[in-house]
């Protein structure tokens, strides 16, 4: 034990020295965790490989390969699928069968099975990932159940007795020692590789894509993330890691028990993931280690493993939903704060994340019930500095505040050319007609407003234009091409950008990252490429420029939920502007803002309208009449008015509908 401690503390000190010295220069992205795994793993295998401790370590490492993949798929991107135990079985059983019946070496059989698993996962995934969220979870829940029924019924897989393996993972022959240690080292190398890949992906720009995907699929799609493709990639990644785990498992344990495809294995894997830290690959490794060591720790523990796991999981979740790695990360952050390095560092990646979600909350209203009054933590200066409003966008000049850079990407819409045409759009939900024969046309530049009473269909129309809702009939034509059936992410690429009625920012991330989500250039790249280079910095730089243009550069490192409503809306606007859109759809941007703030917003909108087409859904009729050059009024799904502000003010239809007698 002392040897172990000495060795590992040396390794840890070395690696932390490396880490901190390199911190001054650029740390190789995501390299550190896998180096630690490799170093520590090798040390343990070489010193203890023949002992009980070592064999438990190797077993844990087999599971950790699976859970590391689950950390990316389930923990980070919230794509809950229960397919891992089945593919673990595929890997294990496949190798055993190939080795026994086709006399293939274990290594070769392993490679074959991983490839086969990838193909099967691709096929299965393309069907299964059409579902989302709960539907995905419940559908994949069937997989272990179906697999169990099959496995226990067939003799090919050994039935209840299990399937033995004659070969070993270590390819050459030799003494038992060599085989055992060699096999263990191979497992460690594979694990380190998986951790490396996982960490690289999560800390890349696609990692940011996956994060948004996990928080809300719809927002992700509206920001250009190709949700179907990413979901499929994640599914395949999870399954391949599972198969890989199964391969090394059978290679080192020489046996496949019948319980491998059981739902209980799946549950055990999930427990390992959550205890260790659902979002971080290292956490997943820790979780696997903890559970496996527990099972062998003492007789009492292994007999009552269910009780122990139940209590452990409950306690860990209560202390920190991010599991052990969350606790460790909080501890590290606390230490850092104590030693003065205080900034929220966006570059550290997954381990630093706390439960992130969409902010739908404004400072008043539902989400704040039960809030405690805290004694400490109140800002020292009470009077007058309680709100951000004064320092935020100090005196935004009415004249053009945006130099060309922000909207440089804009096609600089032509005044007379029609940019957007909505033709005869109908939308029905059940028997209810929400949009009835709505047609309108917008040119490349200008500020236009969409008004109407609640329930008139304004948001639905915006959704139809933005692509999250398909019309029952009618067309949407953008820049000459019919985009009616195009998905939201494609419309994003075409230059349609939108904001939502409730603020949809990602809690737990900085303002900079929230804007950077819209600046990613990684949408068309495969997830695999991010093992290599990442363009996250380029995206962040572009986001920083947009923030600077809007006078918000000083907010870049602030965590999003600490901002006022006005600032949150500005961040959302910045996010919509960052990619330089040709058409900007704003859903009630002034809602919840005071008169002063509305005026500031109006000024900004007028400036924007000089370069791009802005369609505004708004209730504030004064604001609308003040800034728009044309106004559309919807009532009960019908377009009842289409004209300029002067006509708007005098129109009898409008007056009775909106203003009252």
């Amino acid at each position: 034990m002392n040897q172990f401690l000495a060795a590992s503390s040396r390794a840890f000190r070395w690696s932390s020295a490396v880490a901190s010295s390199r911190a001054a220069r650029r740390v190789p992205r995501g390299g550190m965790p896998s180096v630690i795994v490799l170093a520590a793993g090798a040390i343990i295998v070489l010193n203890y490989g023949l002992l009980y401790t070592g064999s438990v370590f190797v077993l844990s490492a087999c599971y950790a390969i699976v859970t590391a993949g689950m950390a990316v798929q389930i923990g980070f991107s919230q794509q809950i699928a229960f397919s891992q135990s089945v593919f673990f079985g595929v890997g294990a059983y496949g190798v055993a069968l190939l080795n026994t019946h086709a006399h293939m070496s274990v290594l070769l059989a392993g490679v074959v099975m991983v490839v086969a698993a990838a193909l099967v996962a691709l096929l299965l995934g393309s069907v299964v990932t059409r579902a989302s969220g709960l539907a995905l979870a419940v559908a994949t829940l069937m997989l272990p159940l179906i697999a169990v029924g099959y496995v226990s019924g067939t003799d090919l897989l050994g039935g209840p007795v299990g399937l033995p393996l004659n070969g070993t993972l270590w390819p050459a022959s030799g003494s038992t020692t060599l085989i055992a240690l060699g096999g263990g080292l191979i497992v460690v190398v594979v694990l380190a590789a998986v951790v490396f890949i996982a960490t690289r992906i999560l800390s890349s720009d696609i990692g940011l894509e996956l994060f948004v995907l996990g928080v809300d699929e719809r927002t992700a799609a509206a920001l250009g993330v190709r949700t179907p493709r990413r979901k499929l990639e994640l599914f395949v990644l999870g399954c391949v890691c599972a198969a890989l785990g199964g391969v090394v498992y059978v290679g080192t344990q020489q046996f496949v028990p019948e319980t491998v495809v059981d739902p209980t294995t799946e549950l055990a894997l999930l427990i390992m993931l959550f205890i260790g830290g659902r979002r971080s690959p290292i956490g997943a490794v820790i979780g696997a280690l903890v559970i496996q060591y527990l099972q062998g720790a003492s007789n009492w523990v292994s007999v009552n493993i269910l009780i122990v796991e139940g209590v452990l999981l409950t306690v860990v979740l209560l202390v920190d939903p991010e599991g052990i790695s969350g606790i460790v990360a909080t501890g590290i952050a606390w230490l850092r704060r104590k030693s003065g390095a205080a900034r929220v560092s966006a570059a550290l990646g997954p381990a630093e994340l706390t439960g992130a979600e969409l902010t739908g909350a404004e400072l008043t209203g539902a989400e704040l019930t039960g809030a405690e009054l805290t004694g400490e933590g109140q800002p020292a200066a009470a009077a007058g500095t309680v709100r951000e409003a004064p320092d935020a966008i100090a005196g935004l000049p009415l004249s053009s505040v945006l130099p060309d850079s922000t909207l440089a990407g804009t096609a600089g819409g032509a005044r007379d050319a029609t940019l957007l045409e909505v033709r005869g759009v109908f939308k029905e939900y059940g028997g209810l007609s929400v949009l009835h024969d709505v047609s309108l046309a917008l040119p490349g530049r200008g500020l236009f407003a969409l008004c109407g009473p609640n329930g008139a269909g304004k948001s639905t129309l915006l959704n139809v234009i933005g692509g999250s809702v398909a019309p029952s009939s009618g067309e949407v034509v953008f820049a000459g091409s019919d985009i009616t059936r195009r998905p939201p992410h494609e419309r994003f690429y075409l230059g349609i950008s939108r904001t939502f009625q409730a603020v949809h920012l990602i809690k737990g991330r900085t303002v900079l990252d929230n804007v950077a989500v819209a600046c990613l250039a990684s949408h068309t790249a495969s997830i695999v490429t991010r093992i290599g280079r990442s363009q996250l910095d380029a995206a962040r730089a572009k986001a920083a420029r947009t923030l600077a243009d809007l006078g918000m550069a000083h907010l870049a490192d602030r965590e999003v939920s600490s901002l006022t409503l006005e600032m949150q809306r500005m961040v959302e606007l910045a996010r919509a502007l960052a990619p330089g859109p040709r058409l900007l759809l704003l859903d009630e941007p002034a809602s919840g803002l005071s008169e002063e703030q509305r005026q500031r917003l109006a000024a900004l909108l007028v400036t924007l309208a000089e370069r791009t087409c802005v369609l505004l859904v708004e209730h504030d009729l004064a604001l609308v009449a003040q800034v728009s050059e044309r106004i559309f009024v919807l009532s009960g799904g019908h377009l009842v008015f289409d004209g300029g502000p002067a006509d708007f003010r005098s129109s009898p239809v409008v007056n009775s509908l909106l203003v009252g007698s």
């Binding site: 579902a131 539907a135 549950l267 009552n304």
Partner: protein, 294 residues
């Protein structure tokens, strides 16, 4: 008549699934937590009564009462110790991924304790209504099955009446639909949550007691029951107990039919395959949120 008997058997098991599904669904509405431990409470009910009656020799009514009281107390404690911190603490934990796993851990814990207390063999609570099956023409009605159905109707009916016709019932509904709005009128949502959790546990235990003579339970049986309850509730989108009820019945009948007409061994496998395919084909119709697919 084979079809008729299969149908009866299907409705019997279906009503059990339905009850569990309703428990999961109602509690989710009020607390936003999925109770994956319902089946384990059922298992404890069955094995507890069996242990107290058969092994310890207590008279049957005492055994039943004691078991139910123990279950209720345990549920109360769990709510006080764990759920209170998880939900009402300074940092309320959110997200379906997390809320999924609390009762998941609870399920493990209960199974472990059951293993210690009751061993690993198959047991069952004693048959409460013994005797040969009742017949109506060529249809057979097992008495235990009838008892299950009766319980389902009584408990389900009582609950429905409570929801529809009392102010407390409406308050319960309200707290599930809008917790802020509920607080405005002085509804103590915490209390309702606690009540429902305990109620769910006790009802599950009752069903375990009534159902176990038909199938027999081990300490691991809870998991399968929880799973089916969860599944059936899923088809109602988790928030609609009415749909969960229908889904539970449907799954029960489908299972019986598949077992009877298709294959006794692989009936379940086919059932799960069908259920999976159904979710993928019509997620919206089955109450799942619409998938954003390309």
């Amino acid at each position: 008549m084979k079809f008729g008997n299969l149908l009866i058997a299907g409705i019997t098991t279906g009503s059990i699934y339905a009850m569990f599904a309703v428990c999961v669904s109602v509690w989710y509405r009020v607390s936003n937590i999925l109770n994956l431990a319902v089946g384990d409470f059922a298992m404890v009910g069955a094995l507890g009564v069996d242990n107290l009656y058969r092994v310890k020799g207590l008279p049957l009514p005492v055994a039943i009462l004691t078991t139910l009281v123990v279950v209720a107390v345990f549920a109360y404690l769990y709510d006080q110790v764990v759920l209170r911190i998880a939900q009402d603490g300074r940092r309320p934990i959110e997200g379906i991924v997390i809320t999924f796993f609390f009762t998941f851990a609870l399920s493990f814990f209960i199974d472990g304790v059951a293993k210690v207390l009751f061993g690993t063999d198959v047991h069952a609570a004693p048959t409460l209504w013994g005797g040969p099956a009742l017949t109506l023409g060529s249809l057979n009605f097992e008495r235990s099955g009838l008892l299950v159905l009766a319980c389902a109707v009584i408990i389900g009916g009582a609950f429905w009446l409570y929801i529809r016709f009392t102010l407390g019932g409406k308050a319960l509904e309200a707290s599930g639909e809008n917790s802020v709005g509920a607080r405005i009128v002085g509804i103590d949502t915490r209390q309702y949550r606690r009540l429902i959790f305990i109620g769910t546990a006790v009802i599950a235990a009752v069903f375990g007691i009534v159902e176990s003579p038909i199938t027999g339970f081990t300490y691991l049986s809870g998991a399968t029951i929880s799973l089916t309850g969860f599944l059936a509730a899923a088809y109602g989108g988790f928030r609609k107990p009415g749909r969960a009820l229908v889904a539970g019945l449907f799954i029960g009948v489908l299972e019986a039919m598949l077992g009877g007409y298709v294959s006794a061994e692989y009936g379940d496998t086919v059932l799960y395959a069908i259920l999976a395919a159904a979710i993928l084909a019509w997620p919206r119709a089955l109450g799942f949120e619409s998938a954003v697919s390309g």
